[in-house]
Amino acid sequence: MEVTLIINGDHFGFSAEPDEVLLDTLRKLGFKSVKRGCDTTSCGMCHIIVDGQLVPSCSYLTVRANRKKIVTVEGVQEKVRAIAEFMTAEGVEQCGYCSPGHMMSLIALFEENPKPTIDEVKHYLAGNMCRCSGFEGQHRAIAAYLEVEQS
């Protein structure tokens, strides 16, 4: 099925299988920041933003995204870099595989709630798995970022 995807502001014509999910489409189109961690929407590694909504791209049909605005980490590099400075300063990115999905969740959160508490951050990011870091370093980094951002 022919679809038009608006990915990070650019238009892509794409011929999608009826059961194809956005995760696979985006990776085929070269957006490698979108990662597959599972197939049960449990890990958060494929998170992207579609029309302002944070979604797991492993469970979002490509045909459903026709003419919708899709944002991946590739499209918000400067926003991500600003947060990532604090992540890398803690050394908490480790293997990095969950990081892009984690960043998309944070960006979506800050859109909805520019001044979240750490508890609100934890709740919003509960679906973003990480097996390397033990999470506490992520929360230290996010707290440091918010402190600088909000001052």
Partner: protein, 767 residues
């Protein structure tokens, strides 16, 4: 300088920005999709397999079964050579030994057609009895490796006719005699479960022939050199025709030490000539890769009334699942990285059997036996203290290993061969204990408190040790070249699996070369380009690979000085990282290297270094936690975890801290939430993230990590390992805290709220 500084990971920003970095990010667009048809039975013989319909589909380019792959037997363990694991596995076998074992491999140009083709393969099975309960496996009438000529490269106690993958026994002194002379003898049995690694990135492999017609395998592996050796030899290809590249990996924890998809994908490419790729589904990662070895540990401790421990005797039954990968070595570590903690004993015994069952193979997993043994040992120390009505901390302090001491176990128990005698030159356990007691406020909180809301809080402690590589076996090497603008390339075989090893190795090179870390460009883990390294396992990278980098860097300083002598014609030369001085002349390193490569006396400056440890100095730690238990439901919450670690010099405090925090949470997960549960028919009950519960950020309480001031004289810049030790203490520390809170001694992992509730309400012990 560069060592002992929290330098950001060299690849960190790129990874968070989502740059292509992992295996599948580089897979050729036209790679054939490879999938594996897996066994629906826990134990069966394939009596016939018909692939004709699958092959009629035009998109299908290759179907492999046991009938058309090389009939070779090997160990997939991904260890050095000769391997200490039994040769008991084939690429594809007529017998399938667990639900999820590989039956056929299908490769095609379209994923849909590959799925269709898999459904069109007709397999007839003769279903056999399966052994799921590992306590019944030894000498069971069903033999799991009955038909194969399994063997081991050297004696490891392997006996397929008894379902025995490996076994071992040793005794130092006379344990029965010592026990007779003890005032108190305490025996207990502990059970630890199969845990899944659940690394973020599923296993994946890509293979293709490069422009020189060499078989290139890009893989999410922890051991690129072992992969090259094992794949090439068993496919009958010269090692010189195979290149293995490890790009970034999304976590490993031991689960990517072995060969998983590499054989299938490499064979598809070899047969079809086309690029191919395989990405494990999460279900496959759970069912068809690895788990931690489940164990039953019978432990006996003998002591005098004053708390002096005189004898320890540990007997292990370990479940290796369908194949014997890491069977012997995990068993050895269960004893060898725990029993020396209490080294003042008169006698110490250790023996164990590792049995086959029809479940997912067990393999390497962070902690590697040490966490299982630690649960038993550090639980029984508290049980002994309770029996003697002594303080559990005091009993530890009285009996634990100290600097300048040794344990005969180091010499007796190795990993596949005898160990190596080792004097402990750095051990700050006393400091570690003091630190965690202070930070958790042990004296105020021990043993328990009842809170106003009726909940009960208790504290618990455990000590741990690990190793730093495998002495006499693990080898690492590094090459350094000076580039034409005065910066350096550091080329290492070491395998960064997300830990930050590329970064800490660059820090070590920068320290010796006296340049900023950004002047060291690291390239790692490519068998064509980088020098040999056994890989990322056994907590070896900081110590073993670190030494090789230190040596290479020291050699580079010598190479620069030697060139300066010849260049300037004087013996009076020096180098300080910025400037090369010769008598009264001086030149910046930048200018010197530019001249060297473009205009005068041209010569490429290169150095190398390689290292094999003569010892594996253990890092040590004390872990203490406070738990809160709701007596109405048995709910257990870890309120806070305090850890004090002696890993020698901390090369990168941030990265070390995250290693410890991540390991602690993995250990807490094993203690409270995680278990690969097999039904009686061998089906893994929890094979997705919906059903297998890894801790989330909602489950984690504050973790307080502290590194004691320590220096290991045998280590690079005084460093020891830190990657594994963090996982060891949670099981015993939490079990001890639960005991202190409730009086209930739990000897089985995971510690479930429902079991605790049952015990508290029926006052019955679980086992």
């Amino acid at each position: 300088m560069s060592v002992n500084k929290s330098i950001p990971k060299v690849d960190g920003m790129g990874l968070v920005l989502g740059k292509p970095a992992y295996t599948d990010d580089f897979a050729p667009r036209d790679a054939l999709i490879v999938k594996v048809l897996r066994s629906p039975h826990a134990h069966a013989e394939i009596t016939s397999i018909d692939t004709s319909k699958a092959l009629m589909i035009p998109e299908i380019k290759c179907v492999l079964t046991h009938l058309n792959v090389p009939d070779v037997i090997f160990s997939r363990a991904g260890q050095g050579y000769p391997e200490p694991s039994p040769y008991d596995a084939k690429i594809l076998d007529k017998t399938v030994r667990y639900m999820g074992d590989a039956v056929a491999v299908v490769a095609g140009t379209s994923e849909h057609m590959v799925d269709l083709a898999m459904s069109q393969i007709k397999v007839k099975y003769e279903v056999k009895d399966a052994i799921i309960d590992f306590e019944t496996a030894l000498d069971h009438e069903t033999l799991i490796h009955a038909n194969e000529n399994t063997f081991s490269m050297f004696p490891i106690g392997h006996d397929a006719k008894r379902n025995l993958a490996a076994s071992y026994e040793m005794m130092i002194g006379d344990v029965p005699k010592t026990l007779e002379s003890c005032d108190v003898v305490h025996r207990a049995t502990y059970y630890t479960q199969a845990q899944s690694h659940a690394m973020a990135e599923p296993h994946n492999v890509t293979a293709y022939y490069d422009v020189q017609d060499r078989l290139t395998i890009m893989s999410s592996t922890q051991t690129p050199f072992h992969v090259r050796r094992i794949i090439a030899r068993n496919l009958g290809v010269d090692l010189s025709k195979v290149r293995v590249i490890k790009p970034r990996i999304g976590g490993g924890f031991g689960g990517k030490q072995a060969i998983h998809g590499e054989f299938y994908v490499a064979l598809v490419t070899k047969i079809t000539g086309k690029p191919a790729k395989m990405i494990y589904t999460r279900k496959e990662v759970f069912e068809s890769t690895y788990t931690r070895h489940a164990m039953r540990i019978d432990l006996t401790v003998g002591a005098m009334k004053d708390g002096t421990i005189k004898a320890l005797d540990m007997e292990v039954l370990s479940n290796t699942g369908a194949y014997g990968e890491h069977a012997l070595t995990v068993l050895m570590v269960t004893g060898a990285k725990n029993l020396p903690l209490y080294n003042h004993v008169e006698s110490v015994g250790f023996k164990g059997n590792v049995v086959y069952t029809n479940t997912t193979p067990a393999g390497a997993f962070r902690g590697y036996g040490a966490i299982q043994g630690n649960f038993a040992l550090e639980s029984i120390i508290d049980e002994l203290a309770a029996k003697l009505e002594m303080d559990p901390v005091e009993i530890r302090t009285m009996n634990m290993i100290k600097e300048g001491e040794t344990s005969e176990i180091f010499e007796v128990m190795g990993e596949g061969k005898e160990g190596m005698a080792m004097m402990i030159e750095s051990c700050k356990l006393d400091q570690c204990i003091e630190n965690v007691m202070k930070s958790i406020q042990w004296k105020e909180k021990y043993p328990m408190r009842v809170m106003p809301d009726g909940k009960i809080r208790g504290v618990g402690m455990a000590l741990a040790m690990q190793g730093s590589g495998i002495p006499g076996i693990d080898m690492a090497s590094a090459i350094i070249k000076l580039n034409d603008d005065g910066f350096f390339s550091l080329v290492v075989g070491a395998t960064d699996i997300g830990t930050g090893s590329d970064t800490i190795l660059a820090q070590m090179a920068a320290e010796t070369l006296n340049v900023p870390v950004d002047q060291i460009i690291v390239y790692s883990s490519d068998t064509d380009l980088t020098p040999f390294d056994t890989g990322a396992y056994a907590s070896s990278t900081t110590y073993v690979s670190g030494h090789s980098v230190r040596i290479a860097a020291e050699n580079m300083v010598e190479v620069i000085l030697d060139k300066a002598r010849r260049f300037f014609g004087t013996e009076d030369v020096s180098y300080d990282g910025k400037t090369v001085r010769a008598g009264s002349q001086e030149m910046t390193l930048k200018a010197f290297s530019t001249v060297l490569y473009y205009s005068e006396q041209q010569e490429q400056l290169v150095s190398s270094g390689s290292f094999v440890g003569e010892k594996a100095p253990p890092p040590y730690m004390a872990g203490a936690c406070e738990v809160e238990i709701d007596p109405r439901t048995g709910r257990i919450e870890v309120l806070e975890y305090h850890a004090s670690v002696d890993c020698g010099t901390v090369v990168n405090p941030n990265l070390a801290r995250i290693q410890v925090e991540g390991a602690l949470l993995q250990g807490i997960g094993m203690t409270l939430y995680e278990e690969a549960i097999y039904r009686n028919n061998g089906r893994l009950y929890n094979n997705s993230f919906l059903t297998y519960k890894v801790p989330t950020r909602m489950d984690v309480g504050p973790m307080h990590i502290n590194f004691v001031d320590s220096f290991e004289p045998s280590g690079p810049f005084g460093a020891k390992s830190v990657g594994e030790i963090g996982i060891d203490t949670p099981p015993a520390a939490i079990a001890n805290a639960v005991y202190n809170a409730t009086g209930m001694r739990i000897r089985k992992l995971p510690i479930r709220s429902e079991d605790l509730w049952e015990m508290m309400n029926k006052k019955q012990t679980l086992i």
